[in-house]
Structure formats: C-alpha cells, structure tokens
C-alpha cells in the first residue's frame, strides 16, 4: 500500500494564481532537512561527541590519504641505507629519528607508513562488520518484537545462545577452518556481534508497536511489511544508528585481538597485525616502544572516538538522560 496523499484540488479557472502543490517527495525532503539541522544543532552542543567526531575525521582523512599513498613503502625490499638513516642495518628496529619520525620496525620499514596504511583496513573491518551485525540485529530484533509469541521466544533463545558462545574462541576456530582472509574476519565479527543490539532493537520495537499510528495503519489494511518498513523501521532507526556506531568500536577491538593472536590476514596490514608482529618479534624485550606505541595509540583513539560519538547520539535520542 502506498502512503495516502491528501487529495489535491485541481486548480480551476477561478484560481487567480495557479500554484503547483508541493509533491510528497519535496515535503518529505524538507522534513528530513529540518530534522537533520535540528539534530546537528543538538550534536554540536555535545563536547565529547564533537571531540570524537574530530578524531574520526582525522583518521578518515588518513585512510583516504593511504589510498593514494605509495604502497611500496610497505615492502621490505624498498628499505635502503638512506631510508633508515641515521640508523644502519645493524641497529634495526630504529628509534624515532631523522627520516623516520615514528621509528622503524625490525625490517626497516617506517612505522608511520605502517600505521597510515593500517588505518584503511582497521576502519574498513570495523565499519563493514558493524553493518553486518546491525542488519542481522535489526532483522532479528524487529521481527521478534513485532511478531511476538513463539517467533519471539525462538529468536531470543537464539540470541541468548549467541551471547554465550565465547566469540574469540569461535572466531579463532572459524578463521582456522575458512582461512585467514580479511573478508572472512569481517564476516565472523559481524555474525557474532549482533545479539546485544537485537535485544535493544526488540525493546524499542515493542514500545513503538503499541503506538496509535501503528494501529491506524493496520486498520487501513497495511500489511506487516508495510507497517514494519514504513512505520516501525523509521522509528527504530535512531537506536540502530547509535548502536551501530558503538558496535564499530567493538568490531575494531575484536579485529585487533584476532590479529594479535596471529589470526589476521597475513597479506594486509592493520594496526592489530603491526602490534602482533612487533610483539612476536620481541619488541617488548628489546624495548622498541615506538613500534608498539604508535599502532596501539591509533586503536585506542579510534575506539574512543566511536564510543564518544555513540554516547553523544544515545544522549540525543534518549531525552531522559538529556534532561538531567
């Protein structure tokens, strides 16, 4: 069923100035624009959220820059006496100095360029895994909340089960079976991170479901699909978005833990794999702090930023907290 539009009276000869009535689309866009502006005004007042956003913009720019940066700087063959100056091959890994302001790893590659190139994959894994988790979580949550009864119990049992599964052990086993590939890792993190969100989305669906406009739509003959896609989903969307941002943080942490256990994609550089390599090649015992600190700092900064933005969104869509 399509959304009803109030019948528009045809302009007649008697009308002095014939004005084209605003189309449904233009009304919708105007409403969205106003909502977005109002939202931005609220967000801008949230200091923590703005700090988070600034950090994210910085790392986003870094990831975009890495798309155009020369990948040759990651190859061990490109390392020359000049590129590691003032160090020599004997004293690698080289502390921050001269050509390498963040030092080098044990192969003489610049830690700065490792970190820049790592940003792309770390962010990509986090974002994609979180999108997968949210699609599954929203589907399960909305269906469970809207349909209710047996479907609800079955889906909630399923999510209980997923919550109990020790994700890191499962992810490790799956990575061993399917292969250590970045897409597999995205899939594993996505498919294991939805249960928490599905519960929140279900709760929100339950409260939206009782509202009058749902009853009206169903009385007018709206199918379940229409009610869910046109009425429930838009009202649950804010919860989904806030959760998605928070899930990105968790997904980035998950990726780094998997990589640290040596289960990352051996062909791609992420912050997690840099830490893994540094640690397994003894950076802690030789005291090569720069090799460990730079990627660690990036993980903490990005996770912190996503968390801050997520909290800010949460505060805006949950007015109860805002009042206090």
């Amino acid at each position: 069923m399509k959304t009803e539009r109030p019948p528009v009276s045809q302009p007649t000869e008697a009308d002095a100035i014939p004005v084209a009535p605003p189309s449904g689309r233009s009304i919708r866009w105007k409403r969205r624009r106003i909502a977005a502006t109002r939202f931005w005004h609220q967000f801008r007042r949230n200091k923590m959220g703005m700090v988070g956003l600034a950090i994210l913009l910085f790392f986003g720019a870094m990831a975009i820059y890495s798309l155009f940066a020369d990948p040759a700087s990651l190859s061990k063959i490109a390392v020359t006496e000049e590129s590691i100056a003032p160090c020599t091959f004997r004293d690698l890994p080289c502390a921050p100095s001269g050509n390498n302001i963040l030092g080098t790893d044990a192969d003489g590659r610049s830690v700065l360029s490792l970190v820049i190139h790592g940003s792309r994959m770390s962010l990509l894994v986090g974002l994609l895994a979180s999108v997968i988790a949210m699609v599954i979580g929203s589907f399960v949550g909305i269906v469970a909340g809207y349909v209710g009864r047996a479907t609800d119990s079955v889906l909630m049992r399923l999510s209980d089960f997923m919550l109990v599964i020790p994700w890191l052990a499962l992810a490790a086993i799956l990575a061993t079976i399917i292969g250590q590939n970045v897409w597999v890792i995205i899939g594993i993190i996505g498919f294991t991170s939805w249960p928490g969100a599905s519960r929140l989305i279900r709760a929100q669906t339950l409260s939206v479901k009782e509202r009058l406009f749902i009853e009206r739509s169903r009385a007018l003959g709206g199918s379940a699909w229409h009610v869910i896609s046109r009425h429930i989903l838009p009202n649950v969307m804010p919860v989904i978005m806030a959760n998605m941002i928070l899930t990105v943080a968790i997904a980035i942490l998950s990726e780094s833990a998997l990589s640290f256990l040596g289960l990352g994609d051996p062909l791609r550089v992420t912050w997690g794999t840099v830490i893994d390599e540094a640690f397994s090649r003894g950076a802690t015992s030789i005291g090569a702090w720069w090799w460990l600190l730079a990627p660690s700092f990036c993980i903490v900064a990005v996770v912190l930023a996503f968390t801050l933005v997520g909290y800010a969104l949460d505060e805006i869509i949950n007015p109860r907290i805002r009042e206090r």
Partner: protein, 328 residues
C-alpha cells in the same frame, strides 16, 4: 514458591542452551579439516596398514551414522570424557591436561574480576552521587580510555613499563623456572608472576563497570521515589544506600554477567602477553598445533563458564528484584 519456579525456569533455559552448545560443538568439530585417524597414527609414531586404519576408524566410531555418533558424543560428554589429546600432550586425557591449567586461569580471572567489579562499583557510586567533581571527571576520562584499550595493549604497556624499564616484576610465566622454592617463598614467587596479568585484567574491565554503575545510579536518582525519600527528610547517605544503590546495582549485575565472555576472551590475549600457562594459552597451543580434542574441551569450558555466569546473574537478579519473578 514463586522464587523456586523462577529459578527452576532459569535452570531449564540454561540446560536448553547447554544442549545447543553441545550440538554446536559437535558439528563445529566435525567440519574441521584433518582426519582424526591420520592425526592419531602420526602422533603415536606407528605405521598402520589401510586395514588397521579402517579398524581404528570403526573403533573410534567414525564409520557410524551421524545421529549415532552424536548420541555417543553426548554420553561421553556427560561422563566428562573428552577424548585424548593428540598434539599438545599426546596420549593424555583432555580432562587431565585441562585440569592442570584450569586452576591458574580460575584464580587469575576470578580475583581480577572481583577486584574490578568492587572498584568499578565503588567509584561508580561516588561518580554518580558527586557528579562532576574532580574524582568523577578523572574516573570518567580514565574509564573511557581503559574501555577503548584492548586488554593485550594494556598488558604490553604494563609489561614494557614494569619489567623493561622498572625491572620490578618477572616478564611472564607462572613461577620461577628454577622451581626449588617451597612454602611462603613459592607463594610469593607465584604472586609476583601473577601480579602484572592480574593488574591488566583488573584495569581492563574496571572502566566498563564504572561507566555502567554510574549511569545506572544517575537513572535511579531521577526516579520519583528518590525525591520522595528526600522530601521525607531522610539523610542523604541513607537515601543513597537504601534507595538508590540497591536499585542501581541490578543493571550492573546483568552487565557483569554478559561481559564475562569478553573477560575470558581478554584472558586469552593477556595469557599470551605474559606467557601465563592457563586455559587461554592452552587453547592457543591447541589451535596452533591443531589438537582438536583439547580445543573442543577449552571451547566447551569457555561456553560453560559464560553460561554459568549468566545463570548466576539471573538468579541474583530474581532474588533482588521481585518484579522479575512475578513477570514470568
């Protein structure tokens, strides 16, 4: 009566989830690569003819139909028979290998979880009550940082600081290699080794518990019964202790239980950082050497641990909050 029914229901649900886990475990380890017979013969160092291999496969029940295998597997699990380790400690029963490492993980994870819960709740109560004070703001900043930091990164930083630069603690292991210490000296040695991993796990989760306790307390403080309690003229301390904290603890209980799976995951990485010979390190060894019986055992252990933590949380919740009992 109602309480008993509530608890019975929760236990039934947990058993159902356990059955789910056992089934999942069964199929997960059936699709892993590698033929069990080939692995067994390789580790025992015996050459077997094709016939003998076939016999062994029949003896191990690998030629039976899947449903029958499943029933046999459930029976074995109920008797605590997890098979023999193939590569981590060839020929030893998995339960034995497991029980050797289990106490080390239990004491590490147990004591650090208790410490982080206690510290998180106390700081959270203070933060929520004296919102915006210096201690609250610094705890808040610290918590956000700790929350954003992977456990292993925290572990590595502490390792660098305390062993590389300050030379205060041993860099890893469970006790000194010389191993001729007894009595008090041995205990001191073990504690000395355990301190850094313990500190890492404690700090890694204190932030999360602090944030939840604080926001939960803020939620409760906005309720009308708090205003009423104050209007009655009750002292602030009394309102906080008797009215606010009790109710604010409930969501924290759930969160602690839910995050337990992550704590165990964190324990795996932290045990790796400090080469601490617990269950996490064991499961990593099993994964690297492809010792599936041991891996299956550790996987089962992790799932059971989270399941039990959730069950305890549910029961505690029902005990503290009569509304939950009445609802079902």
């Amino acid at each position: 009566m109602r309480t008993q029914r509530y608890i019975a229901g929760k236990i039934f649900q947990a058993l159902l989830t356990l059955l789910f886990i056992l089934t999942f475990n069964f199929f997960l380890f059936r699709i892993l690569p590698g033929d069990p017979v080939a692995v067994l013969t390789k580790t025992q160092g015996v050459e077997l003819s094709a016939e003998q291999q076939e016999e062994l496969a029949i003896e191990l029940g690998l030629r039976e139909p899947l449903p029958q295998q499943f029933v046999g597997y459930l029976g074995d699990m109920l008797q605590g028979d997890l098979g023999l380790s193939t590569l981590v400690d060839p020929g030893t029963p998995v339960t034995e290998v497991f029980l050797r490492d289990l106490p080390k993980t239990l004491i590490l994870v147990g004591t650090s979880t208790i410490a982080s819960i206690a510290l998180g709740i106390v700081l959270g109560i203070y933060g929520g009550w004296k919102r915006g004070r210096a201690l609250d703001m610094s705890s808040m900043t610290g918590s956000l940082f700790l929350y954003s930091m992977p456990e292993f990164v925290l572990g590595i930083l502490l390792l660098l600081l305390f062993t590389k630069y300050l030379h205060l603690f041993p860099s890893g292991g469970y006790s000194s290699v010389t191993g001729n210490l007894t009595g008090v000296a041995y205990v001191v040695d073990v504690v000395n080794h355990m301190f850094l991993p313990w500190l890492t796990l404690t700090l890694a989760y204190v932030g999360e518990y602090y944030l939840v306790m604080r926001s939960s307390l803020l939620d409760v403080l906005g309720e009308e019964y708090i205003t009423l309690a104050r209007a009655k003229g009750l002292r602030d301390k009394f309102v906080l202790r008797r009215h606010a904290v009790r109710n604010a603890l409930l969501p924290t209980v759930t969160l602690v239980a839910l995050s337990f799976g992550f704590v165990l995951g964190g324990a795996i990485t932290v045990e790796l950082v400090f080469s601490y010979p617990g269950v996490g390190k064991l499961s990593l060894d099993a994964l690297r050497k492809q010792d599936y019986p041991v891996l299956q055992g550790t996987f089962l252990f992790f799932s059971m641990a989270v399941l039990i933590a959730n069950l305890i949380a549910d029961i505690v919740y029902g005990y503290f909050d009569p509304r939950v009992r009445a609802m079902r």
